[in-house]
């Protein structure tokens, strides 16, 4: 089903939420993505992905306590749900099984620049 598909960027966001647990919120996720992948991402894009993930039921969120650092504005903290976990696991398994099915021949010679 389309609704339960996990887009590439969504998967990335979902994984990062896991990594950052329990302090995953919009800006932090963005910074983490930029650090881990080197991609340039706008905050809006992250928020948009988060909102989609929440609509699909892969994450849940709650507002944290107000702090001084953001002028008293609260953060929204995100957490992976059970369905979210299933979704990444499914993706992970699919990748692994596909990876294992690639015959050695196909990759032979495609070394990383080193010598044999």
């Amino acid at each position: 089903m389309k609704g339960t598909q996990l887009g590439e960027f969504e998967e990335l966001v979902l994984l990062i939420i896991g990594v950052l647990y329990p302090n995953a919120y919009g800006l932090k996720i963005r910074i983490e993505i930029m650090e881990q992948t080197g991609r340039k991402v706008a905050i809006g894009a992250v928020h948009s992905a988060l909102s989609r993930l929440q609509d699909k039921g892969f994450v849940k969120s709650q507002l944290a306590e107000a702090t001084h650092e953001r002028g008293g504005r609260r953060k929204r903290l995100f957490q992976i749900t059970a369905t979210g976990k299933q979704a990444i696991e499914k993706n992970h398994e699919l990748r692994n099984s596909l990876w294992n099915k690639i015959p050695d021949m196909a990759l032979k010679g495609l070394n990383y620049g080193g010598s044999f």
Partner: protein, 869 residues
């Protein structure tokens, strides 16, 4: 606690913008993230960049998930939706009148847009030159010894350099020497050659004065040396099939195989340039700079920045007299702004066909008229239609509608109608553009960035008019008391509204009347011109150009004469009604004589009628010598001779102080060789027995196509590969009235539309009046009035209005058209019939529209009408 860095807040405008569109439940976290991010970026990249990036991030939130959803729970939105729904329903309910309304308004808009854009093009001639306001043409009229002045666009070649050296105001000057109808045979090689008419010879300063954008090459050096050629994009494509042709060589076969090197390629000369060309090369004639005797150059100057053209103008006559001390009479010398040439200059030997300012005024007035009529119509129809909705307004009020919401509703309806009309009008205008390209002589489209802007502006103007129109019923209807409105009682203040409607109708029909009269007069004048005896027979005369290219003109003539379809073949240097040469002859008083060189056969091809004397003849050896000529009657008159002088040797010209004799061999009846705006001028024929540039062939009517192909193959046998170029003389004569033809075409369309729109308007008003009078009609019938009596009562009221309109239109049209006709030397008269036709046709239209409806009302059953309410 560490000391916080000096905190500069992110841009508040961005924050405000965010709050404007962002969902309120997201706003807190989003703003928090953004501010935190700003803090980080400020430290890393500095405040300035951070502020920009802040905007970048804010704009990135313009995504569906974050934008407020206005559709839900907004009263305003729901109300507006319902207004649109009701407006739409109402349009569907009154399909007929809505359609008429939209149609008439859109037709008006289309006409206006079309004419406006056309006029904009006409008025925008030569504005593309850089500093067009500083470019002027200097012209010198021709003056004859009797003091007669002939306006003339040409000047001697010495003028341009003299202007530059004598006046500090003149920054650059340039001469233009067009081909004067010569066709240059040019080509890359022997196999690929074409005849070219668009070759202009000019000075190296050409691009100092005019701006034609270069694609390749350099304007500074492109014409520095003789034998250099600048060509246009399409000429380059024609010869080389590519644009980058700088350095290539073209051969001009008709200039002793001169090889010219291409030094520049420019964009095609814009449509709105008063002179057009495909090739530019340097003038190479000797001693041009001191030559004050030739009159075939055009002089253009570009003034220095800030120089005053009037100042220069004032000094020109004295300068001209100084430059030519040998003259007795000095012709007026004056300047013309280059941007005025197309519309305001009408001299002899203009470089192209110019427009006509009075036509511009006529078109502009017509466009305004049609737009005015259609706006009036729209107003009338809208007001009329809305009055029927009194009860609806009442019911809405009962349900608690505020006055404001009623007003909004009516305005939205008006807006919808106008938007439809504007869109339809735009489509129509584009349709007209596509279909009139040949009438206008140029391709135009509304989908052109500049024209689209014009259309946009007009659309906005019409929208405003539409909204104002909607405002009247909106305010009027919403002002009634609920109780009266529900009962359908219209307040007594309906009288002035009715009077207004009536006077608007009168205006509409008066305008239609003026347009009808105008169109008929233009039509009559054109017919008059077409039926005017030309003085010769232009029918079935085929003119072949470039007859000089033949290896033997005699052979072709003999061949042609053998053909059954050819009755006569003659040679000439020019075409009567096309280009001819001029010279001055006459003694002691000089006369400017238009002339061509022709042989006796050409005279019979043209079927000139001899009043006295005889045609040229090969039997008299003297016919081909000196000043032995055939003239027209006007020529004889202006030479001061009488029919008795024909055939006798008479002193005819003075050259180098010797009086030379000549003789008038024959006199032909006057004939028209220029357009009909001017009087017939002296014309003469010389006979030189040698090949000439044109052949005139009189054809017999039978088997025209067969004869044509025979002629063509005979030509091809003798022409050394030169193309067969020909036209029919009557066609080229028809082209002389092109301006008037164009005017008539556009006028008849517009008049038809004006009548159509006025017709719709009257139909709607009549409809409304009859509905208002339903009960009156019924009571009259009950009391014994006849059907015809009742229907006449209503019809006659409208016919009176139309009569009043015609009384206004008649004198107005008379004045305008009288003035227009005064521009013609040969004009038709303004008869009573013209006005009668206008009156009768408008009355008929009115009678037809109103009569039918009133008759229908009159035969209806009075019981039905009385039982209502």
């Amino acid at each position: 606690m560490s000391k916080e860095p000096k905190h500069i807040a992110p841009p508040t405008s961005a924050d405000r913008f965010l709050s404007l569109f962002c969902r309120s439940e997201l706003l807190e976290e989003v703003k928090g993230d953004l501010h935190e991010c700003f803090g980080i970026e400020q430290e890393e990249k500095g405040t300035f960049r951070a502020r920009w990036l802040y905007w970048y991030h804010v704009l990135h939130f313009l995504r569906p998930f974050a934008i407020k959803n206005k559709r839900q729970n907004s009263n305003i939105i729901i109300m507006y939706k319902s207004y649109f729904k009701f407006a739409w329903r109402n349009i569907l309910k009154h399909k007929g009148s809505a359609l008429m309304n939209v149609l008439s308004l859109s037709v008006g808009i289309a006409c206006f847009v079309f004419i406006f854009i056309y006029l904009k093009g006409e008025l925008g001639y030569d504005k593309f030159h850089q500093d067009a306001d500083r470019i002027h043409r200097v012209v010198i009229d021709l003056v004859e010894s009797d003091g007669k002045i002939l306006p003339d666009a040409t000047t001697p070649p010495a003028l341009a350099p003299a202007l530059k050296t004598n006046f500090a105001e003149v920054e650059a000057s340039v001469r233009i020497f067009p081909g004067w109808g010569t066709k240059f045979l040019m080509g890359v090689n022997e196999d690929q050659k074409f005849y070219e008419e668009g070759l202009i010879r000019t000075d190296s300063t050409f691009f100092d004065v005019f701006s034609f954008p270069f694609i390749h090459g350099n304007a500074e050096t492109a014409l520095n040396n003789p034998r250099q050629l600048v060509i246009t994009r399409s000429a380059a494509l024609k010869y080389f099939n590519r644009v980058d042709v700088v350095g290539e060589v073209l051969t001009v076969f008709s200039m002793r195989n001169a090889k010219v090197k291409i030094t520049g390629v420019i964009e095609d000369v814009p449509e709105n340039s008063h002179f057009k060309f495909d090739f530019l090369t340097r003038l190479t004639f000797r001693d041009l700079d001191d030559n004050w005797g030739w009159w075939n150059y055009y002089t253009y100057v570009k003034l220095a920045n800030g120089a005053d053209v009037n100042g220069l103008q004032a000094k020109l006559p004295a300068f001209y007299e100084r430059s030519r001390p040998d003259q007795d009479n000095y012709a007026p010398i004056y300047t013309q702004a280059i941007t005025d040439i197309h519309l305001k200059s009408n001299l002899k030997w203009e470089l192209g066909t110019n427009g006509n300012m009075s036509n511009i005024y006529i078109f502009g007035a017509l466009a305004l008229f049609v737009l005015l009529i259609s706006c009036i119509n729209y107003l009338n129809l809208t007001v009329a239609g809305s009055l029927k909705r009194m009860k609806e307004v009442g019911v809405r009020k009962v349900f608690g509608a505020h006055r404001q919401s009623l007003i909004s509703q009516f305005l939205i309806e008006a807006l919808l109608m106008v938007i439809f009309s504007v869109l339809l009008g735009g489509l129509l205008a584009e349709f007209i553009f596509q279909n009139t390209a040949d009438v206008l002589g140029k391709e135009m489209s509304i989908v052109d960035s500049e024209n689209l802007l014009v259309f946009g502006l007009i659309a906005i103007a019409v929208l405003v008019v539409g909204l104002l129109t909607g405002l009247y019923p909106a305010l009027h209807l919403s002002s009634f008391k609920v109780s009266n409105a529900v009962k359908g009682i219209v307040s007594k203040s309906g009288k002035p509204a009715l009077a207004l409607r009536k006077s608007l109708l009168v205006i509409q029909f008066a305008i239609s009347g003026v347009m009808i009269i105008g169109t008929i007069v233009v039509f009559q004048q054109l017919r008059h011109l077409q039926n005017t005896e030309l003085g010769f027979d232009a029918e079935q005369v085929l003119m072949i150009e470039n007859a000089n290219a033949l290896s033997s003109q005699e052979t072709l003539k003999t061949e042609l004469n053998k053909m059954p379809g050819v009755s006569e073949v003659g040679a000439t240097t020019g075409v009567v009604g096309g280009q001819n040469w001029t010279t001055t002859i006459g003694y002691p008083d000089e006369v400017l004589l238009n002339y061509v060189v022709a042989d006796p056969e050409f005279m019979s091809v043209m079927d000139f009628e001899f009043v006295a004397g005889r045609n040229f003849s090969r039997e008299f050896a003297t016919d081909v010598q000196g000043n032995n000529i055939i003239v027209n009657e006007q020529g004889l008159k202006e030479l001061g001779l009488s029919l008795d002088d024909v055939g006798k040797p008479i002193p005819i010209t003075k050259q180098n102080d010797t009086i030379r004799n000549g003789s008038i061999l024959g006199v032909v009846k006057d004939f028209h060789f220029t357009n009909f705006k001017s009087e017939i001028k002296p014309f003469g024929f010389y006979f030189r027995d040698r090949p000439q540039s044109h052949l005139g062939i009189k054809l017999s009517t039978a088997n025209l196509s067969e004869t044509m192909s025979q002629i063509e193959s005979a030509w091809n046998d003798l022409a050394n590969g030169a193309p067969f170029e020909y036209y029919f003389l009557d066609e080229s004569y028809g082209a002389m009235n092109a301006q008037e033809n164009k005017l008539l075409n556009i006028m008849s369309y517009l008049t038809f539309l004006a009548i159509f729109i006025a017709f719709i308007g009257m139909f709607a008003i009549a409809n409304l009046t009859i509905k208002d009078k339903r009960k009156e009609i019924a009571i009259r019938k009950v009391l014994g009035a006849s059907t015809s009596g009742v229907s006449n009562m209503i019809t006659s009221k409208f016919l009176t209005l139309v009569l009043i309109a015609n009384l206004i239109a008649g004198p107005l049209a008379y004045l305008v058209m009288q003035q227009w006709l005064d521009g013609f030397a040969y004009r038709t008269s303004l008869g009573v019939t013209v006005f009668a036709i206008a009156i009768v046709s408008t009355l008929l239209v009115a009678w037809f529209t109103v009569g039918f409806q009133s008759f229908k009302a009159a035969i209806s059953n009075p019981v039905k009408s009385l039982r209502q309410d």
